[in-house]
């Protein structure tokens, strides 16, 4: 999740933007932030907090009045503005696909500016459409007005990736998409990011989106950077009341979203086609598995329950939700094929979220009370 030793790709040094006469209120006030190569950094805050202005200073759509921006160590004022923008992918909430161009031509905008030949542009457009989950044969020749909002933004993301820029700027990219499609497109973007390892600056006003997507979150208020850190760091130790209010009183539940069953489960060794006795880590009961190793039924604390299980890659919010629904203290967890792998217990989850050391790995053992300490 965190890449502590990542090479810095985007560095903001004392960045400021003041509109009007000097001394007026700053839209962005002395913001310093480093985003490591391959990280997704989410800029978040209420409307007018300066997050979008900050992002737009990176590709110089807005000229800073103070400080500087380094990309891969190079001061952006030393790079030709147009060349700089062509080397940075740009995605906006309104998508901004050009209505006069087909999907293929839209994806090919930057490659064409860079002078690629036609065959290479077409191959790239097809490759990217496939990557964002749209059928190449069906969509390459379509016009934007023939696409749904979600499809348009998928093309918008493909367009930003066309020339394979190392850096992506995304201004509320999924904000205008309905919740179901939004979750799907977020998941797909994260899956793509696993392979592409772009350095992403993403503006959002949705803390859930930030927790889901971010390697680092930067919280803004009134032009100032209030706190920057991993989602876990911010959820465990909000720097002040504003950040605490922004992340919400259910911040512990939000933390669970970024943790996986595989981080807290206790593995079980068993033989297929039998009843597995469980007596580990506060889990007491039996699990029945069939000849293929699939969970058939379980008994927890003397209560018989049907074939319920959670997957190893489920996030802990899902597990807690299931534990509450079934009123049991633990559940079996299974692999992608549905075969029993171990158990996950409420006790293990509690230990995971009450750990004081936020950057520590999954084996952090609990010490109560450390979670609310203010960061210096």
């Amino acid at each position: 999740m965190t890449l502590p030793n990542a090479h810095p790709m985007i560095t903001l040094e004392h960045l400021s933007k003041v509109y009007g006469a000097p001394g007026s209120t700053a839209a962005v006030d002395d913001v310093s932030l480093t985003v490591g190569s391959g990280e997704i950094c989410v800029l978040i805050g209420p409307s007018g907090c300066g997050k979008t202005t900050t992002m737009r200073m990176v590709n110089r759509l807005i000229t800073p009045t103070g400080g500087r921006v380094l990309i891969d160590g190079q001061d952006t004022t030393a790079i030709d503005t147009v060349a700089l923008r062509r080397s940075i992918g740009y995605v906006i909430q309104q998508v901004g696909l050009f209505p006069n161009m087909t999907v293929e031509e839209n994806i090919g905008v930057v490659p064409r500016l860079l002078g690629w030949d036609r065959a290479r542009m077409r191959a790239r457009a097809a490759e990217l459409l496939d990557m964002v989950g749209l059928d190449v044969g069906q969509f390459l020749g379509r016009f934007p007005n023939q696409l749904s909002g979600g499809q348009q933004q998928r093309v918008g993301v493909a367009r930003a990736l066309a020339a394979d820029p190392p850096v992506l700027l995304m201004d509320e990219p999924f904000g205008a998409i309905d919740p179901i499609n939004r979750a799907a497109i977020q998941d797909q973007f994260l899956a793509m990011q696993q392979k592409l390892k772009k350095t992403v600056l993403l503006v959002s006003h949705d803390i859930d989106e930030a927790v889901k997507m971010a390697d680092r979150i930067a919280i803004f208020r009134a032009g100032r950077l209030e706190q920057a850190g991993t989602p876990d760091e911010i959820l465990v130790a909000p720097a002040n009341d504003f950040v605490g209010g922004f992340v919400g009183p259910d911040r512990t539940l939000k933390r669970l979203r970024r943790k996986r069953v595989s981080q807290v489960h206790v593995p079980l060794v068993y033989s297929v086609g039998q009843q597995v006795e469980v007596a580990v880590d506060g889990c007491h009961g039996t699990i029945q598995v069939d000849a293929a190793g699939l969970v058939v039924a379980m008994t927890a604390d003397g209560r018989a329950i049907g074939p319920v299980s959670v997957r190893m890659d489920s996030d802990l919010r899902v597990v807690v939700s299931e534990l509450l629904r079934l009123a049991v203290p633990w559940l079996p967890c299974v692999d992608g094929e549905g075969r029993l792998r171990g158990v996950v217990s409420q006790a293990a989850i509690s230990r995971q979220v009450s750990g004081a050391s936020v950057a520590a790995s999954s084996d952090a053992v609990s010490k109560q009370g450390g979670g609310n300490a203010a960061t210096p």
């Binding site: 923008r85 740009y90 209505p99 161009m101 087909t102």
Partner: protein
């Protein structure tokens, strides 16, 4: 019946006059498209100039055509062209500028700001933005201005007969001076038909110039 007989007998002459008529309108409108679009783009990029240019145009269009022809006579007499084809072209050019400039400006400032943001953010320079994004997506509105200019000026050109520019207005002016209803009707019908045919032809051009990805405008 008299009129129809007159028309039939003078068909070649009607054709010649129609060609004269069209030559005035076409030359003037083609010039006005080039200059008008350029001026429209310019005031869209410098919005502080827009109100002055647009209201100047609105005033120009209120000057009666016959008065404008009259004003051009002493001006152009200095180069020996006080009457005839040239002043007619100049007057029609001036009238054509107004709808073309206005529609170009309106189309450009009315474009979705996200297109501009995306185009700049992706690294298009000013002229790439204009030619690849702004003008193609403004075509339906600009062409609507061209159609207004052509139809309006086919009517105005009829009056240019009074300054010896020829054209279908010749039938009308002679019909009036000779109190000959046949010539008058011939001129009037021919001017109307020419306007309708031109508008129809331009509608086809508009359709061709409108990118397929834009829903066609409904007029």
């Amino acid at each position: 019946m008299d009129t129809l007989a007159y028309m039939a007998k003078n068909l070649p002459m009607i054709g010649t006059r129609a060609m004269e008529h069209l030559s005035i309108v076409c030359v003037a409108v083609v010039l006005a498209i080039a200059c008008g679009m350029a001026l429209g783009v310019f005031i869209a990029r410098h919005p502080r100039l827009a109100p002055a240019v647009l209201s100047g145009g609105a005033i120009m269009i209120t000057v009666p055509s016959i008065a404008l022809f009259g004003m051009l006579i002493p001006l152009l007499s200095t180069i020996g062209q006080g009457i005839g084809w040239l002043p007619a072209v100049i007057a029609v050019y001036i009238y054509s500028m107004v709808p073309i400039v206005r529609n170009t400006y309106t189309a450009l400032v009315g474009l979705d700001p996200a297109l501009r943001d995306a185009a700049i953010g992706m690294g298009m320079d000013s002229s790439q933005r204009l030619w690849r994004v702004e003008l193609p997506n403004s075509m339906p509105v600009i062409m609507a201005g061209v159609r207004v200019a052509v139809v309006m000026n086919i009517g105005i050109t009829a009056i240019a007969a009074y300054i010896g520019a020829g054209g279908l207005g010749t039938f009308i002016s002679r019909g009036i001076t000779q109190t000959d209803i046949r010539q008058l009707l011939t001129g009037a019908v021919a001017v109307s038909l020419l306007a309708i045919a031109s508008d129809f032809g331009l509608a086809l051009v508009q359709k061709r110039l409108t990118p397929r990805g834009l829903a066609p405008l409904s007029h």
